[in-house]
Symmetry: C2
Subunit: 373 residues, 2 copies
Amino acid sequence: MSAQTDFVQLGHGSGGQMMKRIIDEVFLEAFGSPELLAGNDAGVADLPASSDRIAMSTDSFVVTPQFFPGGDIGRLAVCGTVNDVATSGARPLYLSCGFILEEGYPLADLRRICRSMAQTAQETGVRIITGDTKVVERGKADGVYINTAGVGAVPQGIDLSGANCQPGDVVLVSGTLGDHGIAVMSQREGLAFSTPIVSDAAPLNHLIAAVLNAAPRTRCFRDPTRGGLASTLNEFAQASGVVITVDEDAVPVKPEVRGACEMLGYDVLQVANEGKMVAVVPAEEAQAALAAMRASKYGEDAAIIGEVSPCLGADARRSSANWPSMNRADTASDQAPDADIPAIPTGSVRVRTPWGSTRILDMLVGEQLPRIC
Amino acid sequence: MSAQTDFVQLGHGSGGQMMKRIIDEVFLEAFGSPELLAGNDAGVADLPASSDRIAMSTDSFVVTPQFFPGGDIGRLAVCGTVNDVATSGARPLYLSCGFILEEGYPLADLRRICRSMAQTAQETGVRIITGDTKVVERGKADGVYINTAGVGAVPQGIDLSGANCQPGDVVLVSGTLGDHGIAVMSQREGLAFSTPIVSDAAPLNHLIAAVLNAAPRTRCFRDPTRGGLASTLNEFAQASGVVITVDEDAVPVKPEVRGACEMLGYDVLQVANEGKMVAVVPAEEAQAALAAMRASKYGEDAAIIGEVSPCLGADARRSSANWPSMNRADTASDQAPDADIPAIPTGSVRVRTPWGSTRILDMLVGEQLPRIC
């Protein structure tokens, strides 16, 4: 018996429910370390024989095309990993990069990508300290794939996690949503909009540092990449056992991106971003966090978009494993088996529409925009 | 004008001279951090606000087939990076892993690979703490590519580098050469030998720790992967400005591997290994290092294979950039421009043949066995 489900499908890379399943059932099943089970975008771990902690994260980049309005695969490869390391509250320090090159790829393009990586690394203040090159035959890759891994130093006392959200907290986003996904898709499909749509690819480590300084009790950060805001908030809601409600009207979206999404049938809240940060902060620090975002480069359009409330009825934390971007509540600090706990209704994220109604905001099921990063 | 040299060629991934060129001219040109320019297999860097140093390394694995006698891509992916981190003298601690999956890849094979990674990680004592999954369409990869990056803690006082070799030093290898390359190649090409040839894929961090304990003045370690012993020794010779001479008779090679190499026209000294370590130690510590290797798992066939001597005539250190496996002498600690220094004759590695003659052992020029790791 060999069903379609026995094979890798594009949806397994979506950032949505199918990706969550392969992570749970294959990767966490094999590798379930406490750092992975904690389910954040970066693993935080001790250095033995010292009090230092490091944060580590990795991403492979397979975006097509490699050059698009507002960025390229090189800028993505640096921003993506720097941002993931920074979400832990760490100061990103060092990057590795591994290139998988297809035979026949133009060296001029590779040079352009490397210059972009170097420039972006300089903007972030991280250094590329080790690397690797592999070449595969024509037809065994698609030009160039890049993996970056990043390491940062976690300051003492910092302990951010998607499992930290509490009723009463406030949700912020650092700017307009959907720009990256729509920019890449329109470049790929040759769609032209009257106003050009440009990727938001940007490093956010300085913005995060500014928010942490202004709002030291910040619960967590996450960059809403594949799966968009929908995946990020569902991960937070499941890891923390809370309901998150978003005001659709409050979510900043560029008119041209909104128009493209309506035309193409996408929910902008599920579209990938590469230069935006979601933060959850206690209500009393929300204004300070917002001001810090708005004063930061890449944060001028920041907004408060929602709030956290308790689960209704018998709702409770739901076990939800993650790799590295989906959460699992049963971490080392929370080992209680949850067999007796009734499942939380799917849709612990809700959207208040401009018409006063409420809808459930779920994770993507399959794949929406393959190879967006 | 668009010559063939304007495009990526298979030889750019060979571990030999062409790879050195793309590293020098593309990657180091863009990213030239001091850690990269130091030219070792792992970058060693400080953690600010502490005296801790970390070592970081990365490798992507594109081997075909993914399962071969003696190992699989998962075991390689853990061993390769753990070994590279360990060559710095660091204790490897944490790994990231990034999967690039081709649509349609069997999940059963992916599970098998992950179990192998988990088992190998356990053997090494490292933990996988973060990961990433990307899926590309059919025909845009070859089943599965895996990147791992590794981080280790460097003990105080340890400062290993390929640039540390000194005349009078002794060269050791931890076991038989050529096993991995010939095992993968014969599996791929469907060649059958009377005695099956099995990959040596193995983690060597415990062996390295034992050698460092027994021979604390060890100059450097390197695992002779792509490009084989030839690349490793040429890198050492160029970085240190020395001549290295190998006794061909002393190099351990399994008879069946030697036979296969003769039949296929390969120089076994240029064939890839995945579970061997080369060490350069001061003569007075050579016997202690040898005994430590032989007492270690995976080191029973260790041997002393050569020695280091001064460059002849006007020879001197040659600038030779590296990413991460080729050396460059002009690191932070050696900033003198070498414009006035005559180039060392190529072939600073020599082999004494069993017949008493001497030949130059050069790096591979192009590609010998593509996608061996």
